[in-house]
Subunit: 214 residues, 2 copies
């Protein structure tokens, strides 16, 4: 069985999105700066159907590794498509016609909806039976590969607190956002025991990988 | 002329001290866990008059480097001795008779006081003329060596905002404190431009060094 993991870009001051996240700017003010390290990598461009010519190197290796080992994704309804989850059935989320997941994606929501197949192998499944059920469905879909908790921060925190996460990476961008969504906000003192597993550096970001000690 | 720098241990969720810092526990609840990586190093033990037998390796190299290149320290009154700064003249701070600095230490305060020489080469100088004056005095005392802003977080933030800091290290411990003193709390979005200079990993902590782009 694969691992349950997450991969989140954060600012040096600990935010996974900037202040004032909103429909037009889901990453909040300045939040796009957290992801600059990723946008030019060949692996990211390929996943987004962006053709040839991206950058190779350590950042690209990290992106490829994450995509290749992941068999299914979990995400909150906000990350699928914003709003309160009572989308019109015509709303296909904000990931475009060919989302970068190329795998089943399980969306936590209170609003039942038929599965939504997209181009390129991504199918969004809408799960109304809660976190545990969503995780079980994602594990079954992932087979031997990993389940990636795509976000947002509140979903990541809930699975961490539930003891469901095996390992995770934070990609620390050399920026301060001064506010926004704190990735680990609701985690209490000493609630999760961690070990450093790997550190990869590049000029644009530092990739820190941790194992959750159970 | 040397650099102006700081070196602060932080939790993965961005705190340089835990919740509820107080006189008996200046690092707050769980805050001592941020410094565990340092306590067993040979360099730290030597600086604290702790004799022989400490650990060598990357963490020790980092500690030694910081001590060796520093010619003077700056700190807030809280870090010297807690309280409101109107100490009885007999109060010599909480660093013991032989503080680990072994160099001049400039303490920002509103209460004038004669310099306080300690064992081992540390002298505390109490500066009432403000941040800029304290920095100038520390620079003069440091000569060709660096000035280290020892803390606390509010002092670090003020010097960062004033554009006075050349580089800094954060030592990221694999713990979450769930609250406390956020090292970069008052830094606004994009207020400071940073470049990653160096990453050193060890099992206990990750040492991230940044340069402030001016």
């Amino acid at each position: 069985m694969g691992k349950v993991k997450f991969d989140v870009s954060v600012s040096l001051d600990g935010y996974s999105a900037g202040p004032n996240p909103r429909f037009e700017e889901p990453l909040g003010d300045g939040g796009e700066r957290l992801h600059e390290w990723m946008l030019e990598t060949a692996g990211f461009k390929e996943a987004h159907g962006g053709g040839e010519g991206g950058a190779t190197g350590p950042d690209d290796d990290i992106v490829r590794e994450a995509f290749e080992n992941t068999g299914a994704y979990l995400m909150g309804r906000q990350m699928f498509g914003g709003g309160e989850g009572d989308w019109d059935e015509s709303w296909k989320g904000w990931w475009g016609d060919d989302p970068p997941f190329h795998a089943p994606v399980f969306v936590l929501t209170h609003h039942p909806r038929e599965p939504l197949p997209m181009d390129g192998g991504t199918t969004f499944h809408f799960v109304t039976e809660g976190m545990q059920s969503a995780l079980e469905q994602a594990r079954a879909a992932a087979g031997d590969k990993d389940v990636q908790i795509a976000g947002g921060a509140n979903v990541v925190q809930q699975y961490l607190k539930a003891g469901a996460v095996d390992e995770f990476q934070v990609h620390v961008a050399p920026v301060c956002l001064g506010g926004g969504v704190a990735l680990f906000e609701s985690l209490g003192n000493d609630e999760v025991k961690l070990e450093v597993v790997r550190v990869v550096e590049s000029p644009l970001v530092t990739h820190l990988k941790y194992r959750v000690v159970k």
